[in-house]
Amino acid sequence: MPADEMDQVKRARKGDLAAYDALVLRYQERIYATIYHMTANHEDANDLAQEAFIKAFHALKSFKGGSSFYTWVYRIAVNKTINFLKQRKHKAQLSLNDLDLNAEHDPDLVALISEKTPRREIGLAELQEKLNAAMQKLSEYHRLVVTLHDVQGLSHEEIAKIMDCNIGTVRSRLFYARQQLQAHLSDYLK
C-alpha cells in the first residue's frame, strides 16, 4: 500500500472525513465501473457504489492492513453487488451508459466489426446491448471474473485476493465464462 494511502486510511479510521474523501476519489471510478459491468444498470451501480464506500468507512476499524485498501474496498463492493444480484435475480433491467466518443474509433472494435463480423451493418448500440445481455446470462461469479480481468484489466492474483479464492479457481472460472460468452456472441465473433 502506498505511504500516502496508508496515512489516509489511518486518518480516516480516526474519523477524518477529508482523508476518506481522498480515498473515495482515488477509487470511485474503478469501483463504480466494476459494479456497473456486473449490474448493467447505472442507477443500481450508483447506489451500490455509494453504499459500498459508506460500509467501508464504518468498517475501517476492522481493516487490519493485511491487504491493500484497494483490495479490501473492492471486496466489500463485490460482495455487496453479488448479494444484490442474487436478490434481484428475476427482475434484471438494463440501464446502459452511453458510449464515449472514442468508442466508434476504437481500432480494435473497428477491426473486429469490419473483418470478422458477418453482420457489418450492426450498430454500436445494438452490439453494446447484445454484449451486456450476454454478460447477464453468466452466473454472478463468472461475470465478476470476466469483468475484473477482461474489462478492468486486473491480474489473476488480484482477482483471487478480491474473491478470496485461489488462482486456479479464477482461471477455470474465466475460461468457462469466456466459453459461455463466445457461444452467446457467436454471431458477432465469426
Binding site: Q28, Y32, Y36, N46, L99, N102, L131, D150, L185
Partner: protein, 165 residues
C-alpha cells in the same frame, strides 16, 4: 482444463470495448461529496437493514447457498432432509399416545394440558380421542373450577358458648 487451445482474442477485444461505457458527464464530480454527506448524516448504508439482510449476508450462509447452487444433488439432499424432518415432526405430533404414557395427566402445569382443557371446555361435543379411550367429560375448565371455589360461600358455624358455663 487447458485454456490455450481456445482463441478468445476477438472476445477479449470486444469485452475491452466495454470500457467506453461511461456514466453521465459530471457523475464523478460530486460522487465523493455525496458519500461523505451520507456519512455525516449518520447514514449507515446497509448496516441499518433488518435481520433478514444480516442473515442473507452472513458468510456461512453465503458459503452454504453457493454450495447449494453449484451442486444440485446437495440441494436435493438438503430439500429431502428438510421434508423428512417436517414429516417426522408432523407424525410425532399426531401419533396416538400409548395407554401407559399418561404424561399429559401429570402435566397439569404444562401448556399442552392447559390448551387441551381449554379446547374441551369450549367445544366438549367434539372432543375425541385417537387411542380409543374416551376421555372423561370435563365439567369445567381449571379456571372456572378455581373461580367457583372462590365464589362459593363457606358457612362457618361457630358454636356459641353456653351461657352460664
Amino acid at each position: 482444463m487447458n485454456p490455450e487451445p481456445e482463441n478468445f482474442e476477438p472476445l477479449r477485444r470486444l469485452l475491452a470495448w466495454k470500457r467506453h461505457e461511461q456514466p453521465p458527464p459530471g457523475f464523478f464530480d460530486d460522487f465523493s461529496r455525496r458519500v461523505i454527506a451520507r456519512i455525516q448524516t449518520g447514514d449507515l448504508g446497509d448496516e441499518a437493514v433488518g435481520v433478514g439482510q444480516w442473515f442473507w449476508e452472513a458468510p456461512w450462509f453465503q458459503r452454504f447457498w453457493t454450495a447449494l447452487e453449484r451442486k444440485p444433488a446437495l440441494a436435493g439432499a438438503f430439500g429431502l432432509s428438510v421434508c423428512g424432518l417436517l414429516l417426522t415432526g408432523i407424525i410425532c405430533s399426531v401419533a396416538p399416545k400409548e395407554p401407559g404414557s399418561q404424561d399429559f395427566l401429570h402435566g397439569t402445569q404444562s401448556l399442552q394440558a392447559i390448551a387441551a382443557l381449554r379446547v374441551a371446555d369450549q367445544a366438549p361435543v367434539f372432543v375425541s380421542s385417537t387411542n380409543g379411550v374416551m376421555p372423561e367429560p370435563l365439567q369445567n375448565s381449571l379456571f372456572e373450577q378455581f373461580r367457583n371455589s372462590q365464589v362459593q360461600p363457606r358457612l362457618i358455624r361457630v358454636s356459641e358458648p353456653a351461657v352460664g358455663q
